[in-house]
Symmetry: C2
Subunit: 411 residues, 2 copies
């Protein structure tokens, strides 16, 4: 399967990416717009989430109802979501319906009605979302960790805060739309059984007149992370921690990913073996790498019963620290087998490819080929991963726990 | 893409199914064994879950560690789970690794060690799993609904009960294994870039000497469902309800699926429009159809803040009841578009196909072709769905709520 990836930048800055997959009948659309929660202004925390819910409630010639009907008629499985940096529009359908779906998405991002009458139900939904976090301790502990660990503005949660949501006006939502939903910085990717030239021509026709906006840059502020315990009378204690790693732009990025995989990449991985299998401390324990353009982070999570929570934290941290004492060649072989399997699964999914090419462009301003990624994976060795671990040891750990009693961060 | 589906039944009853997908490099394995939680004996509720966790802790020539290593070396992404009727082994990897993975799975189901020393950590995990349900109100309300709605033994939750888990002996686990992990009633399916003849020969070689077991039939007992409120000081009220529909073997099955889709199949569906979009009552509201061989059920879920929970229940039930008053032709057109899109997505995923062919065989003792399903979808009309709704109106509703205050089931 030769890879067929195309790219075109419109004069207003919008980047169009496509990957042709001619063995499938479906296609996926992934549209990133630089209007994530990082840009929520003070006093309006949550406005991006409100905007993402409002923006599909009528656009172009269609009211809210007609817009939903049009996308459902095309069999589009869709979702709008808000990340720290980008707002994301995602849709998946038959490849032959992509042109009609793009017509509608152009209305959504260029000509949304943002009707006054829809604000109240959307605010009610946003308030529900904040409230439901209280009944989801696993989700809440990660939100609270990111809020404390990351610098402003990338530490903001998409849900915002209740007072700000309640005080939002339709004018504030419209101002936010005009400022941040803009082509410069936006990436539209399509993967599936599509033809490049007609796609490019359609996107030029639909989006060429989209005016660049001023927007804003994400500039992390100086910050000192602080650990915390959140008291809650839950049955289990939730444990989440984070410490500095390298971002995706760093040559050590795949070494960092490999380190996370040695810890948590399969049933034989270290955290799984020590925490879950040998000690039965918890079902769910994992470490993972997370990246922004400006910084990378290693995170870990475990949820367990209160009596054994300190032991779980101690064992987890001990495994994290022990990594730099040595990694076996066969551990790296397994990491490679796992990463290659994942890569091949990704090649077979239009949704995964539409996401991957957009993410590559966002971070690297280019799309990596399978061969390039394969070569990086092939080049991983115990020494290369140990080199990374010496550069980024376990230090300056931010720990957030949620449950009936606080824990102690060992040594 | 012509469909290439193969089937072979071993003399001990094991059914092998395969779908060749020659445009991919991966393959998925789905192995159903009739050892679900329905067969947990009284006083041993949860034994199937303990067995599923124990069964991979050493098998054949390999101890627990070597077995995990062997599967991770093959890049197998895997999972063992317990449903009401079947225990399921799932694995996904490169197609060329399937033969080696099947060798290991044969050890797991035929020659597990079930070592005494592993019982304690596995019991600890199982107890964690029960406890964590208390911190997951959305999951808990569905568990409690199924427990009250369905007849024994298909109403059992895989987690079991703490007293029984604590009292389990290794002998009880081994007896359960010998009785229920058996070829008669088991279905092994593989989908992906595989060759049928070598696969069939390997499966004959590996599994032909697997001895049939006595097992048991699932025979639902006479039962009267009862509504309930579970008091919990949560922020939100969880609402779950169920009422009788038709099983998958019934000619009206796709009419029932279509009815659920009119309610909840897309952004323009009735429940989504009335509950979420117009009133902002909750983010998450849906209706869905669920089937056993012996009975089908329509279920609905909503989670919302306590003050608006009664309104949410009233609106949801009103929409369910209103369905029989009339369905528009364009609603059915959208249902068809959605079902066809899903079908095509499924054709492109080895995991989805391995699951679908096994499920078809389990319920129907044959695999339906895409053309057959397509023809059924094409044949749906407002009248056919109304015919089903008149046969299975909203009645005998079992309602389970979880939250700070009970609700009233209207009229």
């Amino acid at each position: 399967m030769g890879q067929q990836v195309y790219q075109h930048t419109l004069s207003n800055g919008l980047v169009l990416l496509a990957e042709r997959m001619d063995h499938v009948r479906s296609a996926a659309i992934n549209f990133l717009v630089p209007a994530g929660s990082a840009f929520d202004p003070p006093g309006q925390l949550g406005v991006a989430s409100v905007l993402a819910e409002m923006i599909t409630r009528g656009a172009g010639e269609r009211d809210s109802r007609d817009l939903s009907l049009a996308l459902d008629n095309l069999g589009v499985d869709r979702d709008e979501s808000v990340g720290a940096v980008n707002m994301r529009f995602w849709g998946s359908t038959l490849a032959r319906n992509v042109p009609a779906a793009l017509d509608i998405y152009a209305d959504i991002v260029l000509r949304p009605h943002l009707p006054d009458a829809e604000l109240e139900p959307v605010q009610a939904l946003a308030l529900q979302d904040i409230q439901s976090l209280e009944d989801s301790p696993q989700t809440k502990v990660m939100v609270e960790l990111r809020r404390r660990y990351y610098p402003a503005p990338i530490n903001k949660d998409r849900r915002g805060v209740a007072e700000d949501i309640e005080a939002l006006t339709i004018d504030a939502v419209r101002v936010h739309f005009r400022r941040f939903v803009r082509p410069n910085g936006a990436i539209l990717s399509v993967a599936g059984n599509i033809e490049w030239e007609p796609l490019k021509a359609q996107v030029e026709r639909l989006f060429a007149r989209w005016e660049p906006g001023s927007g804003a840059e994400v500039r992390p502020e100086p910050h000192t992370a602080a650990s915390a315990h959140i008291h809650k009378d839950t049955q289990q204690t939730q444990i989440a921690l984070a410490f500095p790693s390298v971002p995706v732009t760093d040559p050590d990025y795949y070494n960092a990913r490999a380190a996370a995989s040695v810890l948590s990449g399969g049933m034989s991985s270290r955290l799984f073996t020590e925490v879950r299998e040998k000690r039965g401390l918890c079902y769910s324990v994992y470490a993972f790498h997370e990246t922004f353009k400006t910084q990378g982070t290693m995170l870990a999570y475990a949820g367990t019963r209160a009596e054994r929570a300190q032991e779980t934290l101690d064992v987890t941290l001990a495994e994290l620290k022990r990594l730099k004492d040595g990694i076996e060649a066969d551990e790296i072989d397994r990491v490679k087998a796992g990463l290659k399997s994942s890569l091949i699964m990704q090649e077979e999914s239009t949704g995964a490819r539409a996401g991957a090419i957009a993410t590559d462009w966002y971070y690297l301003e280019r799309v990596r080929s399978f061969d390039e990624i394969q070569a990086i994976i092939d080049g991983l060795t115990p020494d290369s991963v140990l080199g990374y671990l010496n550069r980024c040891p376990v230090r300056d750990v931010t720990l957030v726990t949620l449950g009936p009693a606080p824990l102690t961060l060992p040594g």
